[in-house]
Subunit: 151 residues, 3 copies
Amino acid sequence: MIEEKIKELGFTLPETPKPLAAYVPVVLSDKLVFTAGQVPLQDGKIKFVGKLGLDVSQDDGKKAAEICVLNCLSVVKSAAGSLDNIESIVKLTVFVNSSEDFTAQPAVANGASELLIKIFGEKGKHARSAVGASQLPAGAAVEIEMIAKLK
Amino acid sequence: MIEEKIKELGFTLPETPKPLAAYVPVVLSDKLVFTAGQVPLQDGKIKFVGKLGLDVSQDDGKKAAEICVLNCLSVVKSAAGSLDNIESIVKLTVFVNSSEDFTAQPAVANGASELLIKIFGEKGKHARSAVGASQLPAGAAVEIEMIAKLK
Amino acid sequence: MIEEKIKELGFTLPETPKPLAAYVPVVLSDKLVFTAGQVPLQDGKIKFVGKLGLDVSQDDGKKAAEICVLNCLSVVKSAAGSLDNIESIVKLTVFVNSSEDFTAQPAVANGASELLIKIFGEKGKHARSAVGASQLPAGAAVEIEMIAKLK
């Protein structure tokens, strides 16, 4: 059902991204799922590279955040079996690759938050931090980690 | 009782801050409360804007951290009913808007940590990370997220 | 057993580091242990100071990450009694003191991740975020926080 909702919204749940290094994409501890930080990896390459406020526009930053959060859902699915087993989204931490004077991290992070609410409704409402990073893995414009709770 | 203690210390618990964007200020998962990142919002405006090491002094950074943590407590209260329902403060992550050479993030974060210990005593002792961010939402000098445990 | 494994690998579990400020190094909430952010403190001083991409090499960054994660284990031990009481490593957040163009945070963080897997095997596999910070406490090259689960 949730996967159909994602399609209806015009998005595709990606294949579970392989970690960029020596770790696993997701860990389940009781009912809480902790994802590794996800970058805007699409079809095997990072789609948005660079700094907000310098070489990535706010709109592209928002699109990057959408891809990151779809990757988060993909790795949660790999632990949960199905996205229908998600009880609620608990927390996002959104790191935005930011120039020294870019201060619209919340607008970028809304790309992820608004999509979650469209997909999950009330259950998609989460706590969130949005923070500027001086750089991110492989130059990614955005990196997002998620805590979700399973049924 | 805890709210009276806050008043005795000369501080005021603020109204629950509205999120700057599409998310909720706090999520409860079993006994753990996760807050959204809180900036030094006071009376509807961000009181300390700018970078430590550049245009915000260390003393003002500490004051900013105090306001952030009071906002964290305010949103925890909105989930917990009363601050007296807090069993303990588990974790703070303190993001400090830092110039490239400002390295006293722990001194800034102490504004938050020391206030929590004054308010809650032993139960206020928490694990903490203090980190430099290249920028923060709306240019805030400090952003703090909290994990607390309820009774 | 785990401590012997650490010795076999040529490392030493350090004394539990004292927090740099007003907080505690570790908090236990039910079965989850949350550590404070650990810097590469060795024999009372921070061994690797500076920015990756500027004055710290990638190899030294990796060594810094190893020391950070050993310090994380030391503080987990102080809460758990013994490292043998660790059920699994859940999550690392690795903050890398990064110049504006350093993008190999995952390679640096691998210093920590690979060591955990050598020490704990399957139980050491964790979710992870690696992020660039504009600065870190006392100029540390790396700061790592850990969530572990006890038996």
